[in-house]
């Protein structure tokens, strides 16, 4: 649905994006994570050409945006919704009128505008706030208006530029739920950027890690979790720094899908007589599946430890040795 191919962009001497490629499939929620300055904002703004890349191709919904003239680009943008970190609502207009702005720009007649705005405000749960001004709303409500506005002209794609970064955790949760629902109900494809791993965890089915203007990792969460050494997976299940334990091996076991409810520790104790201690564990529901990571300390002789690790690997678990003597 969204293809960014070999996108490069620099501002003066600073390179914001270098040779970035992303594929977002129809109906998925794709999260791009990275620290501030990684080029996330520039990246998402190339998807509707608010930022024109120096080189590369942007294709959205089968249309090569980078090849369009201004007039056709404007028409295409009406099919690409965008929400912003600071909402960007017009303070001089009511909630209703802010939503209608999208339809005015699209040249819809007044009657249609009113009807559609009412409908979409109902959908985002703000049916009773139509006559309020943005300054009278909470942050979460403002973002709902932003979402309503972006969806008013029935786009197929939603771009979210740190949409929840200015919101408290609870409100973030409710906005993410709304986006997830819209994704399901309207079949909306969502590309979002965020610096919060929690957002990815909560609603994304795929993710990419952006660092210094380059995509370091990218894929579906399920795949990423089972990729050894994946930094995104590590960030999804943060276990903290590895403690120094001489004379034992420290391993991280990643569970996903069917392996999540396997009695691993019992197995280690029973089959290898290892007195395993748990140093940390994280379990999350990702893409509707249980997934998690456990950090274990394996004592005993080197041979015993090796045998235990081999056994775990054989049973299909992803085991990474992260510390101690091997």
């Amino acid at each position: 649905m969204i293809s960014l191919r070999s996108i490069s962009k620099s501002f003066g001497l600073t390179t914001a994006l270098s040779d970035v490629s992303l594929e977002v499939a129809t109906g998925e929620i794709f999260g791009v994570v990275g620290q501030s300055g990684a080029g996330k904002s520039t990246l998402i703004r190339t998807a509707n050409l608010l930022e024109r890349p120096d080189s590369g191709t942007v294709i959205v919904d089968g249309v090569e945006l980078t090849a369009l003239n201004e007039r056709d680009l404007r028409a295409s943008r009406q099919r690409i919704g965008m929400v912003f970190q600071h909402f960007n609502l017009l303070s001089s207009r009511t909630v209703q009128s802010n939503v209608e702005l999208a339809l005015e720009i699209a040249g819809q007649p007044r009657g249609t505008r009113r009807l559609r705005a009412g409908e979409i405000l109902e959908l985002v749960g703000l049916g009773d706030k139509a006559k309020a001004y943005p300054s009278q709303l909470s942050g979460g409500q403002k973002q709902r208006v932003g979402i309503a506005r972006s969806l008013a002209s029935n786009p197929t794609v939603l771009l979210s530029d740190e949409a929840t970064s200015a919101l408290d955790p609870e409100t973030t949760r409710s906005i993410l739920d709304l986006v997830a629902n819209l994704n399901k109900e309207l079949g909306l494809t969502v590309l979002l950027i965020t610096h919060e791993m929690d957002v990815v965890k909560a609603i994304c089915s795929s993710a990419a890690l952006l660092e210094k203007g380059r995509v370091v990792e990218s894929g579906t969460l399920v795949d990423l979790i089972s990729t050894p050494g994946s930094r995104l997976a590590h960030d999804l299940f943060p276990l903290g720094p590895v403690p120094d334990r001489p004379g034992s091996t420290i391993i991280d076991i990643t569970f996903s899908g069917g392996s999540a409810d396997r009695p691993v520790i019992a197995q280690l104790v029973r089959d290898h007589q290892l007195e395993v201690s748990i140093l940390g564990a994280v379990i999350e529901t990702i893409g509707g599946n249980q997934a998690g990571r456990t950090r274990l300390e394996l004592p005993g002789s080197a041979a015993d430890r090796e045998a235990a690790i081999a056994d775990l690997r054989e049973s299909g678990l992803l085991v990474e040795i992260v510390g101690g003597a091997a």
Partner: protein, 250 residues
């Protein structure tokens, strides 16, 4: 010499003041109208043709944008720096061309508008610069044309500080209109000079001051009212907050 005990004096005073007020209001209102019609787009173009503005590349060329920006900026600065009394006289050929004569109230409107346009254009420029760039971006993401961005986003969002700027502009037009007696433009300023000063009539002088003060106060109250109304909706921008607190002066 004046004789305040003569009923004819008071009759004359009322007549002269009425005529003067009428001329002043006529000159100021038409000049103001022209100022808005020309100054508003000028201010928009001044902001738009700046680097990164929405009119950054008129006719697809950044050079054209830069040239327009520099040129307008120069004209605005020039218009604002020439003293009005000089400008008025220097503009006589232009006035003649536009109005057909350079004497009288109608002719005086030309220099009044010429001095007020750059002033108001700056006010518009400042007000529009205050509008959050994110709003322009949001409109662009919705597929807005440049004209839609100007008419639906920039101008409505900058309305409150623009109204206050307009109020300051009117005050300065009234101020300058006092000088148009020089080109036989009439008005209250002329009354004060001819009767109050040249004929030693303190009554005329005081009356003119009171009337002008009244007009300015009334305009200011109206402007503040509307500016507040729009600002309350928006959560006032920093400019409008500053302007609301500062007494408007010329």
């Amino acid at each position: 010499m004046i004789d305040t005990s003569d009923p004819a004096f008071w009759q004359g005073l009322v007549q002269v003041l009425l005529a003067g007020t009428g001329q002043t209001l006529y000159m100021v209102s038409i000049a103001l109208l022209v100022t808005i019609i020309v100054g508003l787009p000028l201010g928009v173009i001044l902001v738009g043709t700046e680097r990164g503005g929405i009119l950054e590349k008129p006719f697809g060329s950044r050079t054209a944008g830069m040239v327009i920006n520099r040129l307008l900026d120069f004209i605005v600065n020039l218009g604002r720096s020439v003293p009005f009394i000089i400008l008025m006289v220097a503009l006589i050929p232009v006035t003649r061309l536009v109005v057909g004569t350079f004497i009288g109230s109608t002719a005086a409107i030309v220099p009044l508008a010429v001095v007020a346009i750059p002033f108001f254009a700056r006010m518009v420029e400042i007000a529009i610069k205050e509008v959050d760039g994110g709003l322009v971006e949001a409109a662009q993401s919705l597929g807005a044309t440049r004209w839609q961005i100007i008419s639906k986003v920039l101008v409505p969002e900058a309305l409150s500080p623009m109204i206050l700027g307009l109020s300051t502009t009117v005050t300065s037009i009234i101020n300058f209109s006092a000088m148009v007696g020089t080109v036989a433009g009439g008005g209250l300023g002329d009354v004060a000079i001819r009767f109050g000063y040249q004929r030693y009539s303190p009554v005329h002088m005081v009356a003119v001051i009171i009337i002008i003060f009244g007009i300015v106060m009334a305009l200011q109250a109206v402007a503040n009212h509307f500016a507040r109304r729009f600002a309350r909706r928006s959560g006032p921008s920093s400019t409008s907050r500053v302007l609301l607190k500062t007494p408007l002066s010329n």
